[in-house]
């Protein structure tokens, strides 16, 4: 915790970190102070007045917690009649011009205004004069839809565009109760992180056109995930739900705070990548162009492997360390080569200096640490020697421009083991459907050498199998990546101290990174 101070909250002594404001300091101790405008990523603004607290013997006696540092001996009062009244009053002011259209509001169920009203007010409305009318359903661009009437003018969205993206598309125009968030005419949101505004908005004023009216918040199961959209490995929530008689599908991703990896935000591209977990999935097993049962598909692959003299296994830079390991093992079993060729995942110039990496793979460090060769020359050489190719979900679509590789591949007996329907798999003799990352668990290592563990979120009605299980069905010995971990750990010295179950929530920074260090 570092340096601490002892203070009193409602006469109870609490020890908290020094140097933090009361909202953050007390939150760690499990004490919530209601607030709208304060956000740890955006700082204290002090406009909403919802976090007013009483300081006994303080001058002034009522202060905004967001602007008040925790100090030794301070006597904070949150439960006095005065503070309860203040909280009630602030909510009344927020609500007098609010449409209270919760039944048709996407935010209902996860709305701070609604939650605080339930927790701190429950008073009847005394407003019997006409409300202030403002504009609704404004298209702010980047899929952000704004409702000025629901807005509490906390300014988080404005501060986000000024402090975080430094694009400044939003402003609060007018003053007094005519104040409202707006864009300059013809200058809508235009940045790669705009949808964080929807997460940041404490009420239903900023909604996502992608999510609008799709699902009620209370039906969603919120699981923790790690984005596989690029080498950053941003943390997010996978919000999914199994409709009655339907399948478990994902409705959205939301940013999940991880100060070691992505801070408080994720990029829009990653956020929208949930669609690819639902859609364009390979579900059919195909042998020789015909749809067959999964078991028959596996049988066909086993036969091919048994006949092959020199199979080549292609690994995806998106697979987990455990999956990569399982493929390596099975390659050894069948005397095959392994390639992690995936240059196409790297899209030059597509990254930025914030969260977006130009390498669109989640675990290239895993390939490197396992010493799986990624270079093109090696691929061409092994591909030339191979009489059978097994591609474990490496999205060659990314490398489609590589005509030479595509041509060589089309001449081979080619087995595609894939989670998605991809054009580059058209020439495959066998196609085996597998799970995607929302449907399995494992560990990946981002380009900053932070190893992160993630868990299975989605449970499909017909759960596809993940690569580890496939390798087992193909004759491999690994039944579970965690059981294989001792072997992995012995192989990769950097992981020697890493125990999957003990990887902390925010991941673990691997030290002494450098050259591939396979010892096996």
């Amino acid at each position: 915790m570092g340096e601490t101070v002892k203070l009193f909250v409602n006469s109870q002594e609490v020890e908290v970190a020094a140097g933090k404001n009361l909202i953050d300091a007390l939150a760690v101790a499990g004490i919530q102070i209601p607030h709208f405008c304060y956000h740890p990523a955006l700082g204290a603004d002090g406009n909403c007045r919802m976090c007013l607290v009483e300081i006994e013997e303080g001058r002034p006696p009522v202060v905004p917690a967001c602007k008040t540092p925790a100090m030794e001996g301070m006597k904070v009062v949150l439960d006095s009649a005065m503070i309860k009244k203040v909280q009630q009053d602030m909510l009344e002011f927020e609500l007098i011009n609010h449409p209270v259209d919760c039944p048709v509001c996407d935010q209902a169920g996860e709305c701070d205004l609604q939650d605080y009203y339930m927790a701190y007010s429950l008073e009847e409305s005394r407003m019997d004069v006409p409300q202030v009318n403002k504009k609704k359903k404004l298209d702010f661009g980047c899929g952000v839809v704004h409702d000025q009437e629901r807005c509490v003018l906390c300014g988080r969205c404005v501060r986000f565009t000024r402090q975080i993206t430094e694009t400044g598309e939003l402003g609060i125009v007018n003053r007094t109760d005519a104040a409202r968030v707006d864009i300059f005419p013809g200058k809508p949101l235009d940045n790669r992180y705009a949808l964080n505004i929807v997460d940041l908005c404490p009420v239903g004023a900023m909604t996502s056109s992608d999510f609008r009216f799709k699902q009620r918040a209370w039906f969603l199961t919120r699981d923790k995930g790690v984005c596989h959209g690029c080498a950053k490995g941003c943390n997010m929530y996978i919000d999914h739900h199994r409709e009655k008689y339907g399948d478990d599908i994902i409705y959205r991703y939301r940013a999940r705070t991880n100060l070691q990896v992505n801070g408080y935000f994720i990029c829009d591209e990653g956020r929208m990548s949930y669609h690819l977990q639902n859609n364009d999935r390979q579900t059919e097993t195909i042998v020789g162009g015909a749809s067959v049962s999964f078991d028959d598909g596996i049988k066909a692959v086993v036969e091919k492997l048994n006949q092959a003299k020199k199979p080549l296994m292609i690994v995806s830079p998106n697979s987990t360390v455990g999956q990569m390991w399982a493929v390596l093992r099975i390659a050894t079993l069948y005397g095959g080569d392994v390639s992690g060729y995936s240059d196409g995942y790297i899209i030059e110039g597509s990254g930025d200096d914030y969260l977006i990496h130009e390498d669109k793979s989640a675990n290239r460090r895993g390939l490197e640490l396992l010493a799986i060769k990624q270079d093109r020359a090696h691929l061409l050489e092994t591909l030339g020697n191979a009489d059978l190719v097994l591609n474990f979900d490496n999205d060659f679509h990314f490398s489609a421009h590589d005509i030479e590789v595509a041509k060589l591949l089309s001449e081979k007996d080619y087995v595609a083991i894939c989670s998605h329907r991809l054009t580059a798999f058209e020439t495959a003799s066998v196609v085996i459907p597998i799970a995607s990352y929302s449907e399995y668990d494992g560990v990946i290592i981002n380009h900053d050498d932070v190893i992160q563990r993630f868990s299975r979120a989605v449970h499909k009605n017909n759960p596809p199998k993940d690569i580890v299980e496939i390798t087992r069905l193909l004759g491999g010995a690994i039944t579970d990546w965690k059981r294989a971990w001792p072997g992995i750990r012995q192989t990769i010295s950097l992981l020697r101290e890493v125990e999957p179950d003990q990887i902390p929530e925010e991941g673990m920074k691997l030290m002494n990174s450098g050259e591939p260090d396979v010892t096996a």
């Binding site: 204290a44 002090g46 406009n47 909403c48 007045r49 919802m50 007013l52 002034p60 009522v62 905004p64 602007k67 009244k85 203040v86 009053d89 602030m90 009344e92 002011f93 927020e94 007098i96 011009n97 005394r126 407003m127 004069v129 006409p130 202030v132 509490v152 003018l153 609060i172 007018n174 003053r175 007094t176 109760d177 005519a178 104040a179």
Partner: protein, 426 residues
């Protein structure tokens, strides 16, 4: 009763021109000033008892003393010429009739606090006033009173006029700084105070025009001479603006401490048209109203006003005669503060509009007894819950009208006619 300290040159033709002003002593203190130690200048101002004439009444010299010592940052002086408090029009006289007195005051202040850059924030509505002020500054530059070497001394001073554009709240000192920085005039949370973190994050002193214009007299004649006017705790003179229902409205320079009614009757000619007095707003629209009884016991100084549970404010005195419809007056006041709310803090942004709509219910004949209670409660709910005191500037007077003239609100409820005062007059 009237005295001529600040207003000494006001009646002289073309007194705003340097040539004329100089003939009457303008910039005469500078030799003495530059021979003094800056710390002694501050001490002299402290001893004079000069209090901020913008409305808050904070001792000027003490304020200067809050500047951090030995900071490796520039220090700024911002002169508050936003003068937007209804009933306040005193600073305008200085800007127009003796701008060089103010410029001289700026030089004194900047020398004392070690500032080399001063901004005068003038309200946007003062158009011709801005022109005269700018001409005076230009003349001062030409004559060497401003610029690289003030009056030939090794002291640089630049003075820039920053024009507001219609926002009462910019008279609040941190909103004023925000406005100069190119932002909306939305007050900052304090602490930190501007003397520590002010304009462009640098230590900044903000003083009202009249406070600054009082400095030449204090330096020239000394603190004691200034204290000879006024009372022990309310030293000096003040430019009182008297308006509303009096025979002779206008600006009068008076020592502090005079009885209010004497001033109204003897200086301002008494209530106009031979009418009876209904009340007096003592120091600008945001000060609680005084009943005729209270008006007869109060004196024009900070202490007496406080004893009468109101404030000296800006010294803008408004007389209300017997015909004034208090409910409509309150509507006029709330409309003003609602219009001027910066929109930042929830209670002020949302609450003042609500109060305005409630008062309009009364005028429309739809007011209810519990609306009076609701208005009183809203005053409490809003007041002191905000970053700045704009909301209190509305709720404090409104509460005073509700408490002291409650019967007028009630008569709107009880009367079938929605306009009882008018019906009385007919």
């Amino acid at each position: 009763m009237e005295v001529k300290i600040l207003s000494a040159k006001f009646d002289i033709e073309d007194s705003h021109r340097l040539e004329v002003a100089k003939k009457h002593g303008a910039y005469g203190t500078l030799e003495k000033l530059f021979a003094m130690d800056p710390a002694d200048v501050i001490e002299e101002v402290k001893n004079s008892g000069l209090r901020g004439r913008g409305g808050a009444g904070f001792p000027a010299g003490v304020k200067w003393g809050f500047l951090p010592k030995d900071l490796d940052k520039p220090i700024y002086l911002a002169v508050n010429s936003d003068e937007s408090e209804p009933a306040t029009f005193k600073d305008r006289y200085i800007l127009v009739r003796d701008p060089h007195m103010m410029i001289e005051g700026i030089i004194i202040c900047c020398y004392a606090i070690g500032s080399h850059d001063s901004y005068i924030y003038i309200r946007g509505e003062y158009t011709s006033q801005l022109k005269i002020l700018q001409e005076a500054i230009d003349e001062a530059y030409e004559a060497g009173y401003l610029g690289e070497q003030v009056a030939g001394h090794d002291f640089r001073l630049d003075v820039t006029v920053h024009r507001g554009a219609g926002a009462y709240v910019c008279g609040e000192e941190t909103a004023l700084l925000e406005s100069i920085e190119g932002k909306k005039g939305q007050p900052r949370s304090k602490p930190p105070f501007p003397a520590v973190v002010g304009l462009y994050d640098c230590p900044t002193i903000i003083n009202n025009v009249q406070s600054i214009a009082s400095l030449p007299f204090i330096i020239e004649k000394g603190a004691e001479a200034y204290r000879a006017y006024g009372t022990e705790k309310s030293a000096g003179t003040h430019l009182f603006g008297i308006s509303g229902h009096v025979e002779k409205p206008g600006m009068y320079e008076l020592p502090l401490g005079l009885p209010l009614m004497e001033v109204l009757n003897e200086v301002a000619g008494g209530v106009w048209k031979g009418r009876q007095l209904k009340g007096v707003i003592p120091g600008g629209s945001s000060t609680p109203v005084l009943t005729p009884e209270e008006a007869h016991t109060v004196t024009l100084d900070y202490e007496s006003m406080a004893e009468h549970k109101t404030m000296f404010g800006s010294g803008g005195i408004v007389v209300l005669d017997e015909t004034v419809d208090i409910v409509k007056l309150v509507e006029n006041l709330i409309a003003f503060y609602h219009h001027e709310s910066c929109g930042q803090c929830t209670p002020c942004r949302e609450g003042l509009g609500w109060m305005l709509k409630i008062i309009r219910k009364f005028i429309a004949g739809d007011g209810r007894e519990d609306d009076i209670e609701l208005l009183l409660e809203l005053c409490d709910n809003i007041e002191m819950k905000t970053v700045c005191v704009l909301s209190a500037a509305c709720t404090m007077p409104v509460r005073s009208y509700l408490e002291k003239f409650r019967h007028e609100f009630e008569s709107y409820i009880n009367s079938s006619n929605s306009d009882p005062v008018q019906s009385q007059a007919e």
